[in-house]
Structure formats: structure tokens, C-alpha cells
Symmetry: C2
Subunit: 188 residues, 2 copies
DNA sequence: TGATAATTGTGAGATTTGTCACGATTAATA
DNA sequence: TATTAATCGTGACAAATCTCACAATTATCA
């Protein structure tokens, strides 16, 4: 696992053994069972997570009590309620394990310390944030410019493995349509 | 203008006069007339922009030749084709002035230099990227969980001034609906 | 100012998507 | 393994949105 995390960091920055040890000391490992909540709506958000193994869903419940999958997070992905994390406020969304999942977690204090005392990590997070911002913008583009079928095809093409691990109901929710609509689109 | 930009930076970081001069030297001022393109689809992206005065739209043309407003940018906002900028590739979108507009522009070299040699700026951009990521995620949430009328109301509520400066056609495009649909929604 | 372009509203009908309901199948777990 | 829960497909109908068309109004700028 440590090797995986180090490899993850070294895709963007280079590290000595000592530097990696220093970084590692700011993270802790946590284990969750399928269906466990890593973040619960309304409760204070203490961590963001890096997925070692398993699968997470970030879920939003709207005013009409409908669920919406905002994001999935697989191995090697970061996830969390970033808004609540950075504002140290209570969660607007929930983060739940869809499989037994092991994560590294980081507090805001650790984040700030790492950024302040070790500028390589600030650069690492900057790169991550930029990429996250860009991919969010591309998802917005997809949502306003393509229909559900095209979004389905694109997702299947990019993350085929997701379709073996996640129910169609959740895929539909992520795509912004009902499961019935998705079922009909894919029947053809 | 310089004061505005300094105030913009100092919302996040503190600066001495010398530091601000150093930062400023990495930006240049450019002026655009209404309808001018700051970024043209297909052409190499050299800059990202900070709007001093005026108004921009970020526009995407899909495979069916339909236009989609990805974002507006008013005074005090950053905008650009970030994907193409960071990858130094050709533009996937266009950025066009909706009013006569004055901007500060920054090259990727300047960005990298600023981040490397002046860590306060890396932190500034990190904060901006995080906030951009979060607000994109919130827009995704809106797109998958609310109908056009709710999105319209929310936008009107947050940026009332936008409705005095931008045509309904463009607002509709930003909201992901046709102008006819928006016209009918707001007639009631 | 006068010609031209852009914007807006609205009707009619097609298309897409949602809602609710039901039964069949598969997966989870006590 | 027996029971319960989750998932999936589909029919029937409702609601939302799109498409195309046309005319009226407003803005632009040569």
C-alpha cells in the first residue's frame, strides 16, 4: 500500500525516502465495511480520503428527498466533501462505501501543515485541484450538451470496470437520469 | 486597476509592495472589443485571464454544431480554457468578449515561475483551484438534481447583475436549456 | 438615420424523460 | 439455506423539454 501511495505522489512530485516518511506521518489508515459511511450528511467533516482499495460513492440528497450520485471513487482516487472539509462545516453530502474499503485519511490541519512546511505537497495538491476542476468542467459540458445515452456510452468507454462493480441504478443516478430511462436506453 | 488586482490577491495572501511588483511583472494588460475572441477554438492557448472590466463567455461547440455557454466571467474573475492552458494544447472552447473588456493575462511559464519562486502564489492558486473545483461540483449537483426553472431562479438570485448584461439566449444556454424553454418558464 | 442583425415570444407537434406500478430475478445475510 | 432486500425490465401515462416556424421588437453600426 505504501508503495502505491508513494507512486501516486511521484506521478507529480519526486520524493526522497525521508520526505515520504514525513508525508506519510500526516495520514492514517481506516477500514470501512460495505455500506459504512465515511461522511454522514449533517455531521462535521474531519477528513478527505485517498482510496487504497474498494469503492466509494459521494451522494447528495435533494429537497425532494431524492438521491443523486455526485461521484464515485475507486482505487487511487481522492474523495470527500471538499466544501465542508475546507470550510470545516457539516457535510452537505454523504460518502459511503459500496464495497469493503480501505482509505488513507487526512485532516485539514495535516493538509495545511503539509502545504506550509513542504511546498512540494502544495504543488501536488495544486495539480490535483486543477485537474479536478478541469474534469468537473468537462462533466458540466457533458451534462449540458449530450443526452443520457451519449453520457452512458462515454462513461462505459472511460471506466468499463465501474459497470462490473456498481448497479445500474447508481450509474443512472450519476448520469442524471432515472434507472428506468437508463434501462430503456441500454435495451436498444 | 492595480489596486483591484492587489486587493484580489490579498483576499487570500498578504503581500509587501515589492512582492506585488514582482507578481505584477508576470502579467500583462490586454484590451478586447465586444465580440473579440480571447481564445479561439483550435488555436493554441497561451494565456489565462483575470477580468479587470467587462464580461466574457466561455463557449463550447458540440458535435452537432450547437453552442453551449460553459461559463461567464465578470470583473474580478479568472477565466480561460484551463485544460488547453495546462496541457499547452489547442483550445477546445472559445472565450469571447460580450462587452469591451480589459484583462490581465498570464502565460503558463509565468504561472510556473510564480508557483516555483514564490510560494505564496502557489498557495493563492491552490485556493482558487479548490474553490473552482467546489463550485463546479455544485453546478453539477444543480444540473442533475434540479429542473431548468429552479436553476434559473438560483442563478438570478446569485448573480442578478448578469441578467442586465447578458441576453436570455445566453442565460438559457448556460442553464442547459433552449431559449424557448427558458422564455416559457419565465413567462409565468 | 436607415439597413441589417440580434433578440424575444409563442404556437404546434415531436421527442425525451419521469413517475408509478408490478413481477421476475439476483444478491445479501441471519 | 431460508428469508429478506436489492436490482432490473417493462407497460402506461404524465410532464418536461426540444424543434421548427414565424412575426414583432430591439439593438447595432456603417
Amino acid at each position: 500500500m505504501e508503495k502505491l501511495f508513494r507512486a501516486h505522489l511521484e506521478k507529480i512530485i519526486t520524493l526522497t525516502d525521508e520526505e515520504f516518511e514525513y508525508i506519510k506521518s500526516h495520514f492514517s489508515v481506516m477500514n470501512f465495511k460495505r455500506r459504512d459511511f465515511l461522511v454522514r450528511k449533517g455531521e462535521k467533516v474531519t477528513y478527505v480520503f485517498w482510496v487504497i482499495s474498494g469503492l466509494l460513492k459521494l451522494n447528495y440528497v435533494d429537497d425532494a428527498d431524492k438521491n443523486h450520485v455526485v461521484a464515485f471513487a475507486m482505487e487511487d482516487w481522492w474523495e470527500g466533501d471538499y466544501y465542508a472539509f475546507f470550510n470545516q462545516s457539516s457535510a452537505t453530502m454523504s460518502l459511503q462505501a459500496l464495497e469493503d474499503t480501505q482509505v488513507l485519511c487526512m485532516t485539514l490541519d495535516s493538509y495545511n501543515t503539509l502545504c506550509r512546511e513542504f511546498h512540494k505537497m502544495a504543488y501536488f495538491f495544486l495539480e490535483k485541484a486543477n485537474k479536478g476542476h478541469i474534469s468537473s468542467q468537462q462533466r458540466i459540458l457533458e451534462l449540458i450538451s449530450t443526452n443520457a445515452k451519449e453520457r452512458y456510452d462515454k462513461l462505459l468507454n472511460r471506466y468499463p470496470v465501474l459497470f462490473q462493480r456498481v448497479s445500474h441504478t447508481l450509474i443512472a443516478s450519476y448520469l442524471g437520469v432515472t434507472r428506468e430511462t437508463l434501462s430503456r436506453l441500454t435495451a436498444q
